[in-house]
Amino acid sequence: MKTLFRVNRLLLATLFVLLLAHVGDANTAYREAPMLSKLVSEGQLPPVADRLPKEPLVMQVEEEIGTYGGTLVNVFTGQSDASAVRRVLIEVPLWFGQDNRDEIASNIFAGYQAADDGSIVTVYLREGLRWSDGHPYTADDIMFWWEDMLLYTPTPDQPRVADSIPWLHANGRLPRVTKINDYEVSFEWDEPNPLFPEILRNDLFITGILQPKHHLRQFHPRYLADVPDQGPEAVERFQVVLDYLSPTEKYWNPGTPSLEAWVTKVWDGRQLLLERNPYYFKVDPAGNQLPYIDYVRFDVIEDRQLANIKAMAGEIDFQFRHIDFQNYTALVENEERGNYRTLLWQDSGGAAPNILLNHNCKDPVLRELIRSKEFRAALSLAIDRELINEMLWYGLATPMQGTAPVGTPFYVEGMDRMYAEYAPDQANALLDGLGLTQRNRDGIRMRPDNQPLTLYLDLMSPGWPSHTETFELVQDFWKQIGVDLKINVSERSLYHMRIENNEHQLAHWNMDRTLMPTLDPQSFLPIAPDQNAEAPLYAKWYATNGREGEVPEDVYAEMYRVYQQVVSTVDAKERNELFKKIVRLHAENVMTIGTVGLTPVVGVASNRLRNVPEKEIQATEFRTPRNAQPEQFFFVD
């Protein structure tokens, strides 16, 4: 069993560290899938040694060395559900280490090197790595992405794409990107950009850097002889190229070169069929080229619910997305009939839901209350988290305060227990201490302005079913301490609009990003004005560099101040320790109120499918189930 996280982090690659992990032995005789051997013998494909890069990435297998063949069947709801495909296939330039996930490991890129102050980052490509059509992947491809996609503009009034990508900027300035040779590219800023290597392994940030120049140049006005590279026609042509900035675009266009394990063969609106990439750059420890499985198929379902029934009928080989925890019992009881096994993984989230009290609330009396730590603590202490766990999660979740959960890199000792016990008496005492002693005939406390203490929650719909049920319970808990909770259901777009306009009092979210908060602090620090409902005006202040919104006060002021230090700290260990200060401030002051975390996640895997981890962590950052490495799954007969 490999360690999922290691709390004692290695010193990250801030010095001249070149990551060339798991280099294959040059003398290994590589083997390939029978369907490819056939093509090789027919002369349609070069031999496997010529297709693999000089140093293929050696992928450890979960259980055993596999055998080739088969079709992996999944379901998704169609083109708008592209993430379902992406989360099985995506390759990110760098990735999480196989042994230690805190490590920034090589993947498409062989490694990187960061200068002392973090202002120059050089990336190294894999020599001999090829696109799925056999064309070499080189620095030119990165330069195409940079110069012809991000910096190019077909009309002077159209902004460059690069200008709208915040993480490419260091102190507001773009880097100089230089091709050093075919396998080396450097990014050079005027000031340090220490988080850039982290960005290179985060799919949600670095999307789109892997572009096949030899393929896309046929659409690009700059490379087309008959199209001027400026003007309306160029705008139209360039739009097609821009589409490929989304890493899912290739799935809908058969023939687009890819670096992933499987490449689209057919997409007809009903089925997405992907075929193995003969040039895929990973091998197993025995030298077999991955993936083991020949084809991956995604069938379109008209409704999420179908995934659950199809799983029960044994029509799906591997699926996590759209499988609902509430169907767990039924799934287990039908295992034999459908010849599958039900997998119970664990979400890395710190709170599902996290209750967000609006520190910028428009109602002045309520704002005053929400900004008092005692009030927030009282509301937190009044929640019976064990009961929530028991009723909604079969006891499989972890009752805790909303923070980085135990076992994750940013866990701070004791923070998960902060005001997380069920202590209604203490809660009552805290509220009494705030002078909220008067009650109306329903037992609801009166606010200082003699209004009943009613809190309105905006509940997003469609949202998470467990949130609705949790709040129905919270309603009861808070009633016992004389706080009236009213739930108003908001349609999803409206929900975000209301938050952005600061029209809400209470809202909620899954605290789902706790693994890489230095890069993406949203779970702890308000940075998204339409999502961080705990302080949308502060978030706006942050997002607009102080032009709009409200200047943070008290604890939040301190948290933003620390975060400024975090982003400019070059040393990774120091940076992470600094961020833990924010984690501490966040939990100790109950800035948000957690309920249960580390919730169970249910999926199914066919009994014929092997090398699927029994236990895994689900995380947005890991692109789960991508972190289960489907390329090393295989079928037994």
Binding site: G208, I309, W464
Partner: protein
């Protein structure tokens, strides 16, 4: 007569024009647009798209233009036969709807055939045996379908078929080996097998109404003096019933059939969603929810136009049959 038809025809186009405006307003009424809906959906599953990706899409879809500009662009193209492009599927709407429309028509047609095949005899039978025990029982059985929420019936049927009788795959209209295959005899047979459950589920919900209409039409005609006279003259009961009354009683049903088509499309939506049918219903729902406005808008226009044409034809036919109407 010609003048009446012309009059109705003249009013047809303004009506369609107003409908088009209404359609566009209604589908744009919910807050947000395609991109915000998409972005929020991705956000919830932790797949948030980067800001700049959304910016690119916004420009591509012209969503930054004001609504009347977008309407005008849509409707002028619509008239020319260009139904616009679906945001989600990134294909012309006509292409996206195309094969689904065919399957919808096959399914709706078969369902209608099935419901009529069962309802008309029951309607006639219950009319002739009015207030008998069998009348009561059949009426109640008919209502059973009407009163059970479609989606639950569909879900139970799906569950039973999927888990307990694994004859065909779960839902859908095709087995996986035929889903992307070109049409063949085997594929057609496969389709027929898969249609049994949808037809039963959709059919049962519509039977009650048809039985009721057929029964009351039949009762009306049976009570007409000339029928009573014929009976008195000694013509055998069943000859009267089947030869004459049935024909008269079915007439209004036939005029109704023309108008049922659009209703069948949207009425089967819920069942189609649950049963995973690749028909237009689920796609329309998805388009409405995700604010894929050209897809849903063009689609609604087509359905509405179909109904208006149906109305027009029915009115003209009625005017032909009954001269009094023309002067009303």
């Amino acid at each position: 007569m010609a003048e009446y038809s012309l009059n109705r025809l003249v009013s047809f186009f303004p009506t369609l024009f107003i409908v088009s405006i209404l359609v566009f307003i209604i589908i744009n009424a919910p807050p947000g647009d395609y991109l915000t809906v998409l972005a929020n959906e991705l956000r919830q599953t932790g797949d948030a798209a980067a800001e700049y990706e959304l910016g690119i899409l916004e420009q591509r879809y012209g969503l930054n233009q004001p609504i009347h500009v977008r309407y005008w662009k849509w409707i002028t193209n619509f008239v020319k036969g260009d139904l616009g492009e679906s945001f989600e599927w990134r294909k012309p709407v006509s292409e996206v709807i195309g094969d689904r429309l065919l399957l919808t028509l096959i399914l709706s047609g078969s369902t209608m055939f099935f419901t009529w095949l069962i309802s008309i005899p029951i309607g006639v039978y219950t009319a002739i045996h009015k207030d008998s025990l069998s009348d009561r029982v059949l009426t109640i059985v008919g209502f059973l379908g009407l009163a059970t929420p479609n989606f639950l019936l569909a879900l139970v049927a799906l569950y039973l078929s999927a888990v307990h009788f694994q004859v065909i795959g779960v839902g859908g209209l095709f087995s996986e080996e035929f889903a992307s295959a070109p049409w063949s005899v085997a594929k057609a047979i496969d389709l027929v097998k898969h249609m049994i459950i949808p037809i039963l589920v959709i059919g049962t919900s519509q039977m009650a109404e048809l039985i009721r209409i057929m029964r009351s039409n039949m009762l009306d005609i049976l009570g007409q003096p000339y029928v009573l006279t014929n009976r008195a003259k000694g013509l055998k009961g069943h000859v009267i019933v089947y030869k004459h009354c049935l024909r008269v009683a079915i007439n209004p049903l036939i005029s109704m059939a023309g108008m049922q088509l659009p209703n069948l499309i949207s009425g089967t939506m819920i069942v189609a969603i649950v049963l995973n049918l690749p028909t237009v219903g689920p796609m329309l729902r998805r388009a409405l929810v995700s604010q894929d406005v050209y897809l849903s808008g063009s689609f609604l226009m087509i359905v509405t136009a179909l109904l208006l044409v149906g109305n027009l034809l029915a009115d003209v036919a009625l005017a032909l049959a009954d001269p009094r109407i023309r002067y009303n």
